[in-house]
Symmetry: C2
Amino acid sequence: MAAGINIQAAWAGASGCRTCGIRQMALFADLQESDFALIHVPIDELRLSAGAPVYHLGDQGTALYTLRSGMIKLVQSLPDGSQRIVRLRRPGDTLGLEVLLTLPYEHDAVVVQDAVLCRLPLEVVTRLQRETPRLHTQLMRRWHQAVREADEWLTGLSTGNARGRVARLLLHLAETGGSNEISDLFTREDLGAILGITTETASRTIAEFRRASLLETLGRNHFRCNLDGLRQVADQL
Amino acid sequence: MAAGINIQAAWAGASGCRTCGIRQMALFADLQESDFALIHVPIDELRLSAGAPVYHLGDQGTALYTLRSGMIKLVQSLPDGSQRIVRLRRPGDTLGLEVLLTLPYEHDAVVVQDAVLCRLPLEVVTRLQRETPRLHTQLMRRWHQAVREADEWLTGLSTGNARGRVARLLLHLAETGGSNEISDLFTREDLGAILGITTETASRTIAEFRRASLLETLGRNHFRCNLDGLRQVADQL
DNA sequence: CGTTTGTTTGAATAGAATCAATGCTGGTGG
DNA sequence: CCACCAGCATTGATTCTATTCAAACAAACG
């Protein structure tokens, strides 16, 4: 996935955006040379390791983020104190669009796999939005992507029994990974928070899949999927 | 809800938009007098009764819709053939934003309660979008609203046990209705499709709530809610 | 090397799905 | 006008599934 990613040493300022390895998949994809002149504030690069928060629910944010590498979870807590992961962000994705509407962040954003992100100050984005129409389409695409992902999350990962949910998640991960191998599968707790099941059920289901040869353990948290077999389980319910 | 709704006789053309009773809550809220001159195509009004489809998943749409009154469900079907209601639209809401990205509709939109909608041809919206910046904010608001509603749907209505889900849905309906009475509650089948439970479980849970005096039947599909009681059930899980 | 943190497994229980039957209501046509 | 029908709602009995509580285990870390 994202074959062309090329992370150089840390830099600041807009200069980097022009030559950014993932620009074509990021928010600034459609910008032209002249547009970058409008960026007068440094775009910082952040490197965060697993477990680190990017922002918190309720914070009055002053920046959006583009994820360059790694993975980030968006979490909402439930009335009873437990947590539910409502979306995952992968390289090229944008985080924190809600600040464009001067709203506080609506999730806790937490790093799941070591991440590199670009911090886009709100003023930069609003200025570009005002001066050039080329950002509009991309912004709309981002919003749309969030809606679509949310819908898939609901129908695919929060419907049906535990076996089906786990199978669909594994397939999703394998597909976006472009191979039948999954490295760095989530903790069982995160699996549960994604699928709306308990960690025990998540653990049991993974174990069951292993016994049924739907999953083969290649190493510590590294699996090979029997895609056809998983598809069958996924389609039952 | 929407106290000021005032549906005149059917009309066509843009003339009506200016004086529309729900304009301040709809997509064209921020438009100014001069902007309406840009609308050269008639805006049709549609009246559809319960059960009628507005559009179908996969259709290559040529219009967005603003809901003036009634209720509409957005449905996605699952691999196993059953259906899941992914969102509800109420007066002032917009349907079919995805056509702005030249994408086919992503749901089946079906009328739940007799509805009146305005059909906004794609060309009208894209033209306005090009000529005036005043639509951008509203569009972004609409997208944002869809995301937020999707997130709430997931955490509120698709998490926890059946009692909690039903309670939270009833509270949601009562709150958006602005009273502790709910008229025209969904069919049990729709309840199930919203909450990800079977129709039998939905029925049983409603019956249980009635026995526990959390709901009082006022008439055919017309209930009064014990809000505090429901809130207690909603918060447990 | 012991402590912490996450994983696995077991047994008991609670919850929901399933299958099946019955009841209710509004609409239709004789 | 009434009898019947179709569609939805309710209820029961049973089976299956997931949660809960508890314990043992494994790996990672200071």
